[in-house]
């Protein structure tokens, strides 16, 4: 049962596209110096929170920014950098033709689409995914977990992981804003946040 395992969930550190204010989706851009520092700090924080990490599996989105964050995080926690699995189902939502656009421009276009108002979950990025698609693949990933896990992923999958774990629906899933710096713990059916 998902609620019987403990998950530590993190976003990748700040990237150049975050600083530019564009949505990377399944493109990528390098971690900024600040993003690299966030990842290292989170590694030290994770070690402090958990003590022994030997009973945890480690998973990252296979996009470069998540793996780069994972390696800095593991280094910061005193672990070898590469002892993790990179899973495609943890990738950010595929924004299709909206990739590399500003979020404000994406939403002003989306607002012209009746689906956006009727059912945000079903709004599909042109030639990309809907949140519903993302939610299903993150659910399929969660079903493979056998032990406690540390997961480095993106803003969209963080919302989906939290929604699945806490049994949330609708806007309670979508409205969550995951900060870059800090660690979400999902344990015994509840959430805690450790960070700045």
């Amino acid at each position: 049962m998902l609620r019987n395992i403990t998950l530590y969930v993190l976003r990748h550190g700040e990237c150049e596209h975050n600083a530019l204010g564009v949505v990377a989706g399944q493109n990528d851009s390098p971690l900024t110096a600040r993003g690299r520092e966030q990842a290292r700090v989170n590694g030290a924080r994770l070690k402090e929170l958990t003590g022994d990490l030997s009973a945890f599996d480690f998973f990252a989105s296979s996009l470069h920014r998540a793996c780069a964050t994972m390696e800095l995080l593991r280094g910061g926690a005193g672990l070898s950098t590469t002892g993790y699995r990179a899973d495609r189902r943890l990738m950010e939502i595929d924004c299709g033709d909206n990739t590399w656009r500003r979020w404000a421009d994406i939403t002003s276009d989306a607002e012209k689409n009746p689906v956006w108002h009727r059912a945000r979950w079903d709004y599909r990025h042109p030639d990309g995914e809907s949140f519903h698609d993302l939610y299903a693949r993150v659910g399929a990933f969660l079903a493979t977990l056998e032990r406690n896990a540390v997961i480095v992923t993106h803003a969209g999958p963080v919302r989906a992981l939290r929604g699945h774990y806490l049994g949330l629906t609708g806007d309670d899933v979508l409205s969550y804003q995951a900060p870059h710096a800090g660690i979400m713990r999902l344990a015994s059916g509840t959430e805690s946040y450790f960070g700045d």
Partner: protein, 198 residues
């Protein structure tokens, strides 16, 4: 927009990874570069500098999957460039193997005995379960290539490397798929012809 054949492209595969050793198809999953893979990337960086000379009028693109960006950063450093001056583009990702991701050939055959050949003999239009076909890959690579405005260095996977070559040289699907670039070395596409350096 420049005609594709007016541009010079250097195409490089990621260095050897742990999944290559294990015989698994990583596709959109990932695994770390081996020590050998990192050395292949460094050697390709030195070779690129030697072959291309001045890289200042080149753009740099990689697939956004970790192993290709990691390779790109090692290549750039070995070519005396800052590691992060490149763009990562989703259209350069490997063929999406869908439910075949992370399987060995034997596991894929056991799962889908009717599979029409695993790579070269297979149907161009065969769609992996919940994944892509070669036709899908070739189409998305064809949408990436017209965005090029200058000569470029591209680090991408086995499938897209062959697709780029096929588009550049105007090859048939069979000719496109039958090419087998190694991990190490650099493919140059220039003035409508190809050269391989290793």
């Amino acid at each position: 927009m420049s005609q594709l054949r007016d541009l010079t492209l250097y195409v490089i595969r990621p260095g050897e990874c742990e999944h290559n050793i294990a015989g698994r198809a990583a596709s959109w999953d990932d695994s770390p570069l081996t020590a050998n893979g990192r050395e292949q990337a460094r050697a390709n960086g030195r070779l690129l500098k030697e072959v291309a000379g001045d890289l200042s009028d080149f753009d740099f693109f990689a697939s956004p999957i970790h192993r290709t960006c990691n390779t790109m950063e090692i290549v750039r450093e070995a070519a005396s460039l800052a590691p992060t001056g490149y763009r990562a583009d989703r259209r350069l990702m490997e063929i999406d193997f869908g439910d075949h991701t992370w399987m060995t050939r034997e596991e894929i055959r056991a799962r889908d005995p009717d599979l029409p050949g695993l790579d070269d003999s297979g149907d161009w239009d065969y769609v992996r379960p919940r994944g892509e076909s070669w036709a899908h890959l070739h189409e998305r690579v064809s949408r990436f290539l017209p965005t090029l405005t200058r000569n470029a260095v591209i680090v991408t996977h086995y499938g897209p490397a062959r697709s780029i070559r096929g588009h550049y040289l105007g090859l048939t699907p069979e000719q496109t798929k039958s090419y087998k670039p190694p991990h190490a070395g650099i493919m140059r596409l220039s003035t409508g012809t190809e050269t391989y350096f290793d």
